[in-house]
């Protein structure tokens, strides 16, 4: 078994914390995991990417076109992070939009989705803004997106949501646990009703691949 997850975002969004939480869940489940982080210069609001490799793996880095999942905590960074995604892999995109300062040619929110939906991939857009507003805390983007990731069947099989909730509660407290649960539920709903889901017609996709309640 091998699952490779690339997480990308903007320095300060909690990308590194997200990988630390995934790793902690893996350890709780007795799974092997290797995560690689970026520190230093890259954290000064630059692009940040973190790799998490679970299962039969040794090396810390994910090669281009090799990740099963790409989780983008920010929309413009989704365009950058998609290079790690394998053909017909899932990209999870948060609707948080932070245009890089000093650039006048930043693709708009709509353009980001258009550009990504032309690629041979599967995409789900998570309304993280709504979760932030409901919890009145802008720092929960990472946990909301982790929740969404955990709704996928092959992930939840090895990393169940209840274990994740327990780990997040212990490491980051109840607001983050709530964000996790909200991201999880939102992703399941979207999978069921198809809102915010884009699947390239070259990829196979059954209507409810993640209905994991049973």
């Amino acid at each position: 078994m091998k699952i490779e997850i690339a997480v990308c975002g903007v320095g300060g969004q909690g990308v590194v914390t997200m990988s630390a939480v995934i790793g902690e869940i893996c350890v709780r489940r007795g799974l092997n995991v290797v995560a690689a982080e970026t520190h230093g210069m890259a954290q000064r609001m630059g692009s940040v990417e973190v790799f998490v490799r679970i299962g039969d793996v040794e090396a810390p880095l994910i090669s281009p076109a090799s990740a099963d999942y790409v989780v983008a905590l920010e929309m413009v960074e989704a365009l950058r992070g998609v290079r790690y995604l394998k053909r017909c892999g899932w990209i999870l995109v948060s609707n948080i939009y932070i245009p890089p300062p000093g650039s006048d040619r930043v693709p708009s929110r709509r353009q980001v989705i258009e550009l990504l939906s032309k690629l041979p991939i599967k995409m789900i857009v998570i309304d993280v803004e709504e979760i932030i507003n409901r919890l009145e805390d802008p720092r929960v983007v990472n946990m909301a997106m982790l929740g969404a990731l955990l709704s996928f069947k092959d992930i939840s099989k090895i990393l169940p949501i209840d274990v994740a909730e327990d780990v997040v509660q212990g490491m980051l407290g109840s607001v983050n646990r709530e964000a996790l649960a909200m991201g999880y539920r939102q992703a399941l709903e979207k999978m069921n009703n198809g809102n915010g889901i884009y699947v390239s017609n070259v990829c196979t996709y059954s209507t409810a691949p993640s209905s994991n309640q049973g």
Binding site: V10, G11, S19, A20, G23, E24, C26, V27, N32, V33, V34, A35, A36, E37, T38, H39, G40, M41, A42, Q43, R44, M45, G46, S47, D56, V57, E58, A59, P60, L61, S63, P64, A65, S66, V76, E77, L79, R80, V82, R83, Y84, L85, K86, R87, P99, P100, P101, G102, S103, R105, V106, P107, Q111, L115, L116, K118, L119, P120, I121, P138
Partner: protein, 617 residues
């Protein structure tokens, strides 16, 4: 980092950062002293140990620079206290003076020098491979293949060092130090923190007569070390085949994954001691081998030693390594797989990445909102304009390196720690029609700014030195330094003032200012520039706490907003400051409430006073 995670019980599995694993290995051995100067990717080793130093009763310090850190730990090991020093790769250059003699004297207790190399230069000025230092200084180098081994080899390095009375280098790198993985914990050893020093100058004083004896002894010891390392369990031969892959350190992890992807059969010689390459084991691995591929991160340290062994024993085997993998940047599974495929004659191409039709614009690191350096740079540019000069800006290592970017462009040179004042000493005597402004941070000033400052005064090198004192070591994660009045363990200590040092060494013009007061800052810098133009040395301290730290400490709370009825859309605030908290929407500036730190610098720049405290807008 939670304290409990590092102090977990033996037998437990903890999800540790590579640097935490190194720290854990050190306390399992029972070190009594740890000293370092922060530098990415090494900082968390001492940062972690500092948090548990009181629990364990050991001495942990942030030293002023790597040389001093090395000496602190070295002396501990001379007095029978096991110790560890840690630094980023370029830090070992600073510590290389004592390093080169440490193999001559040897040590009494375990002494491990951790060097954290940074291939691809994620946060560094070069890509140097510090395994060369091992060959250069007759110090064995251990190289972990992952996070678990980082802990295990730290422990083993201390043990071997103590047994052989010889220093050991542990070579980590970004993808070990900043990787996280489950680590099986061992027993925490009881710390040995109290030393004894016997008067034995023939052992500790490298005067020529002693050093000649020591050198002969080192050469003899070096042979013995090489033989001994061949038997370590972390060096081994796996699998079989006529192609031999020699994989050192993290190269082994990439090799294993690549071999799995390719599904090929190969013999692997796993190496954890690249220096000296264990000859006995290499010879054993060669039986029936037709081709060799060496996988190692950065330089051909193993490859060259291996080729030399083959020549010595008269074997003519095809050896590949850097020719197939290249010598730039980090290893990846793809790079390694491609090389292995080529050597094994398997057709294989890496999967091609998906590319959106429009490339996203780069998002480079920038100065944080409210960063006091931004305010200082703005004032500096304005002051230079007012005085009518175009200075040479010699820059330095730290967050202020980001001043290289527009709109500031005030880092014309950046070479090494302390290089700002050092290079200014030279420019001052050669480029006579432009003043030199040396720009460095507070921690960097203490690290290596003082000797070149004395040199400037002594040799009459006119310059303006601008010390950007944000009262912390910002870039590496807020470590304290002598100017903060706090130790690594968070205890109060005597605070050393930069301006006092400047006055004491004879700088005639010394001033301290608050960069958040724009007018005061501009006027102070103008005065400093005039002193430099007049042929003298001026030192100014721009003192204001790092805004990230200030927010954490609750010192900055205000939020500013722009009154759209008064704003004339001149965008001076945007163009002059490039603050991430000020964005432009439909041609008008707008302050992002969640990002504004309330420094108030933009209010002082606005020509129509349209920016004020408040939450509207």
């Amino acid at each position: 980092m939670s304290r409990s995670r590092l102090l977990g019980k033996a037998g437990e599995t903890a999800f540790l950062l590579g640097n935490e694993a190194i720290a854990r290995g050190a306390i399992e051995y029972g070190i009594g002293v740890a000293a370092a100067y922060p530098g990415t990717p090494s900082s968390e080793i001492i940062g972690t140990l500092a948090q548990i130093a009181k629990n364990l009763g050991i001495h942990v310090e942030w030293s002023v620079n790597e040389k001093t850190a090395f000496e602190v730990a070295y002396a501990a090991a001379m007095s029978g206290v096991p110790s560890l020093t840690a630094m980023k790769h370029v830090g070992l250059n600073v510590a290389s003076d004592p390093l080169m003699s440490s193999a001559y004297t040897g040590v009494k207790a375990g002494f491990v020098i951790v060097t954290a190399d940074d291939p691809y230069m994620h946060s560094s000025q070069n890509e140097q491979d510090n395994r060369w230092y091992g060959l250069h200084a007759y110090i064995p180098v251990l190289e972990p293949a992952g996070v678990q081994e980082a802990k295990d080899l730290t422990y083993m390095g201390l043990e071997l060092s103590e047994r052989l009375e010889h220093p050991f280098i542990l070579r980590s790198l970004t993808r070990v130090s900043h990787a996280r993985a489950p680590v099986k914990l061992g027993e925490i050893g009881s710390p040995r923190s109290s030393g004894v020093f016997l008067r034995e100058p023939e052992r500790w004083a490298v005067i020529p007569a002693h050093a000649r004896v020591m050198k002969r002894r080192v050469l003899e010891k070096w042979m013995r070390i090489g033989e001994m390392l061949a038997d370590l369990p972390y060096n081994r031969i796996e699998g079989d085949g006529s192609t031999l892959i020699v994989a050192s350190g993290i190269g082994y992890a990439y090799t294993r994954d690549a071999v799995n992807i390719l599904g090929c059969r190969a013999r692997i010689l796993k190496i954890s001691t690249p220096v000296p390459l264990p000859r006995k084991l290499v010879e054993k691995s060669l039986d029936g081998v037709e081709k060799i591929l060496v996988i190692e991160e950065t330089d051909p340290v193993v490859e060259m030693q291996l080729k030399s062994i083959l020549v010595d024993i008269g074997m003519n085997i095809e050896v590949h390594g850097g020719d197939l993998i290249g010598r730039f940047g980090e290893l990846t599974i793809d790079r390694v797989a491609q090389a292995i495929a080529k050597v094994c004659g398997i057709p294989w191409l890496p999967p091609q990445p998906l590319k959106p039709e429009i490339e996203p614009p780069p998002r480079s690191p920038i100065l944080c909102p409210g960063c006091p350096h931004r305010a200082t740079f703005y004032a500096l540019k304005l002051a230079a304009k007012k005085v009518g000069v175009d200075p040479i800006y010699t820059g330095d290592i730290g967050c202020y390196s980001l001043g290289i970017s527009p709109p500031f462009r005030v880092q014309d040179t950046i070479v090494e720690m302390g290089g700002s004042i050092g290079l200014a000493n030279g420019f001052a005597h050669t480029v006579r029609d432009r003043p030199v402004v040396a720009i460095l941070g507070d921690s960097t000033f203490f690290h290596s700014g003082i000797p070149p400052l004395v040199n400037a005064v002594y040799n009459r090198a006119p310059m303006l030195i601008l010390v950007l004192d944000n009262e912390t070591t910002g870039m590496t994660g807020f470590q304290p330094h002598p100017g903060t009045g706090l130790t690594a363990k968070g205890e109060q200590t005597r605070r050393v003032f930069i301006e006092d040092i400047a006055k004491a060494v004879g700088v005639s013009h010394v001033e301290v200012f608050d960069p958040y007061s724009v007018r005061e800052a501009v006027e102070t810098i103008e005065r400093g520039l005039r002193v430099a133009l007049g042929g003298d040395v001026a030192l100014l301290v721009a003192r204001r706490t790092c805004s990230l730290l200030a927010v954490r400490l609750g010192l900055l709370r205000d939020v500013y907003s722009i009154d759209s009825s008064r704003c004339i859309g001149c965008l001076l605030c945007v163009k002059n400051l490039m603050c991430p908290a000020i964005t432009v929407e439909d041609g008008r500036p707008h302050i992002v409430k969640a990002l504004c730190r309330g420094c108030g610098v933009c209010t002082q720049i606005c020509p129509v006073k349209a920016i004020d405290r408040g939450s509207a807008g």
